[in-house]
């Protein structure tokens, strides 16, 4: 089991490295000169050069790449005494714990990955992301919770009452609202219907963030505002979970060991809970977990519709202003979350299904 877990973790790190490489080269070939973004169109040549020198964008691409990796790594190499060097251990950039020195010029340190600064606001990208990430994560998390808890239960019933009106009804719901309708459309309909038309009964507002400001109370957390966006974001996964759980359940219920369980004298409820569920959950768990990061990325539209101040909101903003460090940082964060959740899921999967472990 330890070997299984460590292999999964090493795999995850390798994937992340690949992602970093892709992000770097992708954004490197994008048009747009950082110096003009920072200084504006009418900047003097000297200032432009100075910016290039500071960012290291006048160096060869491969040097830039290594520099980027060094910035992102937890353990990195720096020149602590050379102020002009690109890898000068600048306290305004990094916060670190020194590990050891190599021949007096180089120092190896343990540090928090440095995502660089926004071209526009000059704030640390990590700071921006840390501010906005929780909002998106909470949104995605609740969307997943809604989708999986409701979806699994509805899916089980659809399988047990196969071909009934209930089964067909859930299928129509899933295909129309979940698959066919785009999320911004569903979002607009939900906001209009529950946040405006039926607002008297639901008490919900069509837009709003997790943190609300009030003239008398100051900042407060509003979970009420979470309901509509989380539902909107969760509708697609919900309908996939229903369908997935239904087919997985139908498949498991026709297995020989279910017949064995029946022959033991178990009731249908006992068979479903003790024998079928654990077997049927595997494909669903894999699917759900893979979506978490995907949902955070997908939250971009929903956040825009509901004016939810999350990471997606920030990315859309940054993209329109060509603020590359923010976009790169956000992409990297999505990728990291993706890899981490997948790794955790693989390990959980190993616990759920003993057959996976032996490979």
């Amino acid at each position: 089991m330890i070997k299984f877990v460590s292999i999964k973790i090493i795999n995850g790190i390798l994937v992340l490295w690949g992602v970093v490489t892709c992000i770097f080269f992708l954004f490197n070939i994008l048009p747009g000169d950082p110096a003009t973004i920072i200084l504006g169109q009418r900047a003097s040549e000297e200032n432009v050069k100075a910016i290039h020198r500071e960012l290291g964008t006048d160096r060869p691409v491969i040097t830039q790449y290594l520099h980027y990796l060094n910035d992102l790594s937890f353990i990195s190499v720096h020149k602590p005494y050379n102020h002009k060097s690109l890898i000068y251990l600048n306290p305004s950039k990094y916060s670190w714990i020194p590990l050891f020195e190599i021949d007096k010029n180089y120092a190896v340190v343990l540090k928090i990955p440095y995502l660089r600064k926004s071209y526009i606001t000059k704030r640390d990208v990590s700071e921006i992301l840390i501010d906005t990430l929780p909002e998106t994560a909470i949104l995605a998390f609740f969307a997943i919770c809604i989708a999986s808890s409701i979806g699994i239960i509805l899916g089980i019933f659809a399988a047990l009452y196969k071909d009934s009106w209930y089964d067909k009804g859930s299928f129509i719901f899933a295909t129309v609202f979940g698959m066919s309708a785009p999320s911004y459309l569903v979002g607009l309909i939900m906001a209009w219907l529950f946040g405006y038309k039926l607002a008297e009964y639901t008490g919900l507002s069509p837009v709003g963030s997790l943190y609300e400001y009030d003239e008398w109370e100051g900042q407060y957390i509003s979970f009420k505002n979470l309901i509509l966006p989380a539902f909107t974001l969760g509708v697609r996964p919900l309908s996939i979970v229903i369908q997935l759980m239904r087919s997985s359940m139908l498949d498991v219920m026709s297995q020989d060991y279910i017949r064995t369980a029946k022959a033991k004298g178990l009731s249908t409820f006992q068979i479903v809970v003790r024998h079928a569920l654990k077997n049927a959950m595997n494909p669903v768990v894999t699917a759900i977990s893979g979506w978490f990061a995907g949902l955070m990325a997908g939250a971009v539209f929903v956040e825009k519709v509901f004016n939810w101040k999350g990471i997606g909101y920030e990315v859309v903003d940054a993209l329109s202003k060509n603020d590359l460090p923010v976009v790169m940082g956000a992409t990297l964060i999505f990728a990291t979350i993706f890899v981490i959740t997948n790794t955790i899921v693989d390990i959980v999967y190993g616990f759920l299904d003993p057959r996976v472990r032996i490979k």
Partner: protein, 596 residues
């Protein structure tokens, strides 16, 4: 036995199944009784309704598509109450299932829950019916594991099904079935998916358990040989009807129904060699279920006369002639290894040796039998000859050319000449391809025949030769029975006009009665196409019937090799003796014919 009280009476049971828009009769007026402490064998081919009858006793027929249209299943419960199982409520039924009536299924591989520890599956069964704690149930389970002879009960208790062998899984199933000390145990083909040697131990286990627990056993099988090892009385089923019921001795010695007679006759006899195995159609008109065809009554004469028996002298002569002929295939010091564990970088750290330094020759026109338990390397050996698996070292010479040293282009013409027939006729045909097209395809690949019409003519001709009809050209695999599919697979192998055929467990998945037909077919085709055959099987009886010489394999090595008859009569090694002992003979198998 007859004075005892019956514990189960099935009277006039009729069941239907909804297939293709209409109800098809699965069983019709099935009657049988089970007495206390007796073993009742139900025998019949697949589709004869034997499984349906037993499942209806358990109340496990899926409704829909199934339904019970009429009849009664009377059960005399532990407390002495008589009840009709077709009428009782589901709640009541659940109390009986697993407690008073329990069942063992055919597929031990899939009948256990893969994500639950073996021990807990038995514990669960105990705790549903008995008011006991987990610890008490665990203690009983460990006792049961001891009784069914599972190795190290404490460790096996915590193992998952995939960590056990097929035989061990079936033992867990048995432990589960007998856990509540049932009155009736239904065993539905419990050994069909297992090796002969494992089958023997399971049958012995069931016998001894019955003595201890005094339960009534219903034992279902397609193989009268297996039934004869265990049963007191036998019910013979054919196309949903019970055609004969009687004491096992009577069934074997005075069979009345032609179908019973054919079942007894169609297993390859062990004491003599027949040119042709008797099949069901030799005994009865297949469209009629109940009547004996008077013209076919004299089958004894057909099959037991001297013309059908190959004398030992004749066999010797034939073998001599073959051995003096040319060697078509020479296998020299062949080794096949598979990686067992790998490091993260893919470097192999340990190997499993599937075929270990094996050498033998095959002469032109002979049938070489390859026999051994599953996992002995016989299948790997067969595939290595076709280069379907990579050999690690050694040589394989085909007509003096070294197959292992050829490039893929050099080997391609040989692929046409060497063909293989696989074990499972269900999964080796593409379900979306018409039979005809599946057969024409290899001809097109190897550029045999000038155009489609010519190839189609050839294929239709071939279909007739393997005992199918021309119109089957346009059908799809699911429309055929297991035996017919295996015929299709044979036709596919023969379509390229090969000279060398490898049959890998080609009849193991078939009913005994169908197996006889396919074996006869193979022998006929061998003559017609002048084939050389390597016949691989775990069943020594079948291998002996088919082959001139025989190779016995164990753990990747050759145990012994030589004249098939000699090996059977004078086995040199302990392992071969074990294989021969494991063949279900029954004490009566030949007595019916011995009388004549």
């Amino acid at each position: 036995m007859q004075e005892k009280n019956p514990i189960l009476e099935v009277c006039g049971l009729c069941t239907d199944f909804w297939v293709d828009g209409k109800y098809n009769r699965a069983t019709e007026n099935v009657d049988f009784k089970l007495y206390e402490g007796e073993t009742l064998g139900i025998v019949g081919e697949s589709g004869s309704g034997k499984s349906v009858s037993s499942l209806s006793v358990m109340g496990l027929i899926p409704i829909p598509p199934g339904r019970i249209t009429s009849g009664k299943i009377l059960y005399y419960s532990r407390s002495g109450v008589q009840m009709d199982l077709t009428k009782i409520s589901e709640n009541w039924y659940r109390k009986i299932r697993g407690d008073e009536i329990s069942m063992i299924f055919q597929e031990p591989m899939t009948s256990l829950n893969p994500v639950m520890k073996c021990g807990n599956q038995v514990v669960e069964s105990l705790r549903i019916h008995k008011n006991i704690t987990y610890q008490e149930a665990k203690k009983i389970t460990l006792d049961l594991f001891e009784q069914v002879q599972l190795p190290e009960p404490e460790i096996t208790f915590n193992k998952y099904p995939h960590q056990l062998s097929g035989g061990q899984k079936q033992r867990v199933m048995i432990a589960m079935a007998i856990s509540c000390n049932p009155r009736i145990l239904i065993a539905d083909e419990p050994t069909t998916a297992l090796d002969v040697t494992v089958q023997k131990t399971i049958l012995e286990l069931l016998k001894s358990l019955q003595k201890t627990y005094r339960m009534g056993i219903i034992f279902i099988s397609h193989d009268l040989g297996v039934i004869s090892e265990l049963a007191d009385r036998v019910v013979v089923m054919y196309k949903g009807n019970v055609v004969e019921t009687g004491h096992v001795w009577d069934i074997f010695n005075r069979p009345r129904h032609p179908y019973t007679k054919s079942l007894i006759a169609c297993r390859p006899p062990l004491d003599k060699y027949l040119r042709k195995l008797p099949v069901v159609s030799d005994f009865m008109n297949l469209s009629e279920t109940r009547q004996t065809d008077p013209e076919k009554e004299d089958f004894k004469i057909i099959f037991q006369n001297e013309e059908n028996v190959i004398t030992p002298e004749e066999r010797k002569k034939e073998l001599q002639k073959l051995i003096s002929g040319e060697r078509i295939l020479e296998v020299k010091n062949l080794v096949v290894k598979f990686p067992r564990t790998k490091t993260i970088l893919g470097k192999v750290t340990s190997w499993i040796t599937a075929v270990d330094d094996v050498s033998f020759d095959v002469y032109e026109g002979e049938t070489l039998g390859l026999v051994g338990e599953s996992g002995c390397g016989k299948t790997t050996l067969g595939r290595a000859i076709l280069r379907l698996v990579e050999a690690s070292s050694g040589d394989i010479l085909y007509r003096k050319g070294n197959i292992l040293k050829m490039t893929e282009t050099e080997f391609r013409p040989l692929r046409k000449k060497i063909q293989i027939i696989f074990q499972d006729p269900y999964s080796s045909l593409n379900p979306r391809l018409m039979i005809g097209d599946a057969l024409v395809e290899p001809m097109k690949v190897h550029q045999i025949g000038r155009n489609y019409a010519e190839r189609k003519d050839y294929v239709m001709n071939l279909l007739k030769k393997v005992g199918l009809l021309e119109e089957h050209f346009y059908r799809y695999p699911h429309e055929f029975s297991g035996g017919q599919r295996q015929r299709i697979c044979i036709a596919r192998a023969l379509v390229l006009n090969p000279e060398f055929l490898i049959c890998d467990e080609s009849v193991s998945a078939l009913d005994v009665s169908v197996q006889a037909q396919v074996l006869n077919l193979l022998n006929d085709l061998k003559k017609e196409f002048k084939l050389t055959i390597i016949f691989i099987s775990h069943d020594l009886g079948v291998v002996k019937f088919m082959s001139n010489r025989m190779v016995v394999m164990n753990k990747g090595r050759i145990e012994e090799m030589g004249d098939a008859d000699e090996i059977y009569n004078k086995p040199k090694t302990e392992y071969t003796r074990k294989l021969i002992d494991a063949i279900p003979k029954g004490d009566f198998t030949n007595s019916y014919f011995a009388v004549s």
